[in-house]
Symmetry: C2
Subunit: 183 residues, 2 copies
């Protein structure tokens, strides 16, 4: 009887990542509940998106924990992060573009914390000598987001095999396109 909040968020994420304008009605039906009930649990569409945001941020933070960003080689940590964050990538990309909409309201402070952790990883790699220093850590962070989003989309469109995804992102990000001598 009690509504499964997790399931609602999951279904909402699945639909919204595919079409950002999915209506509350469609989301409700996908989650197997009535529109009235959906409104009882989420004050409105905005509230639902916010909840999705909170959830996505939490999941991403969890992925970071699981990836143990501070441990070992920075490149390996990055690989682990890509691996762990893969299931969240699509939602993240959706929320990312959705933030444009909230240009008036304040953005969730959680984003800054996530950014900071990733940027710290890149900076650590630079200080330890494994990462090049002529590209700013901030840009590398943005690039990671961009590649994760592009990757999720490419898989969705069937242009990249899901099995190759993490490897493709990590390898491109770490090694670049150019053929390298050192490997």
């Amino acid at each position: 009887m009690a509504v499964d909040r997790e399931r609602v968020l999951k279904e909402a994420a699945a639909l919204l990542t595919r079409r950002a304008t999915t209506s509350m009605d469609e989301i409700a039906r996908a989650a197997g509940i009535s529109r009235a009930t959906l409104h009882r649990h989420f004050a409105g569409r905005d509230a639902l998106i916010r909840a999705l945001e909170e959830h996505g941020i939490a999941q991403f933070a969890q992925a970071m924990d699981a990836a143990r960003l501070e441990e070992g080689d920075a490149a390996d940590a990055l690989r682990r992060l890509i691996e762990e964050a893969e299931p969240v990538a699509a939602v993240l990309a959706f929320l990312f573009t959705e933030n444009q909409l909230f240009e008036g309201g304040e953005i969730n402070a959680g984003w800054a914390r996530l950014d900071a952790r990733i940027t710290a990883l890149f900076r650590r790699g630079q200080e330890e000598g494994g990462f090049r220093i002529d590209l700013s850590a901030a840009w590398l962070t943005e690039a990671l987001y961009g590649l994760m989003g592009a990757g999720a989309w490419a898989v969705h469109e069937g242009r990249v095999a899901r099995n190759d995804l993490n490897h493709s992102i990590a390898e491109l990000l770490l090694g670049g396109i150019r053929r390298s001598m050192e490997k």
Copy 2:
């Protein structure tokens, strides 16, 4: 008296890239014309987006021509492409996400042609030995789009200096994050 179609498209692009839900009214006002006139020149919102798409595709194709993708070193050609395509990147990113919406209707065939040209560039680089072959040309194409989009956004958000943008994209894409011996 005659409406400057170019200007309308330009203003529309500027607004829509910032907020995808910008209304026809706002676009009209930004372009300095009335909503009625806007409707006289573009049958409706869809038609406007389509026109924007056509325009964006044409501009991108033009950028490719200017970059002379078939000439010289593939890496240099890629650098030229990034350089030439920079002004179009934001619109392209917008159209890219907007295509999700047209999931019912058929997508513009122009995209496939653009993709093909870029993919051909990457393949050429692979065949000539300059680019690694363990990442598919299709994925590299998607990654290029992703990085261009992320870059445009990062500049808009002030996280990357506009002057560094092209260099940042090209260097990351070609060389990757890892510190390399060969340079």
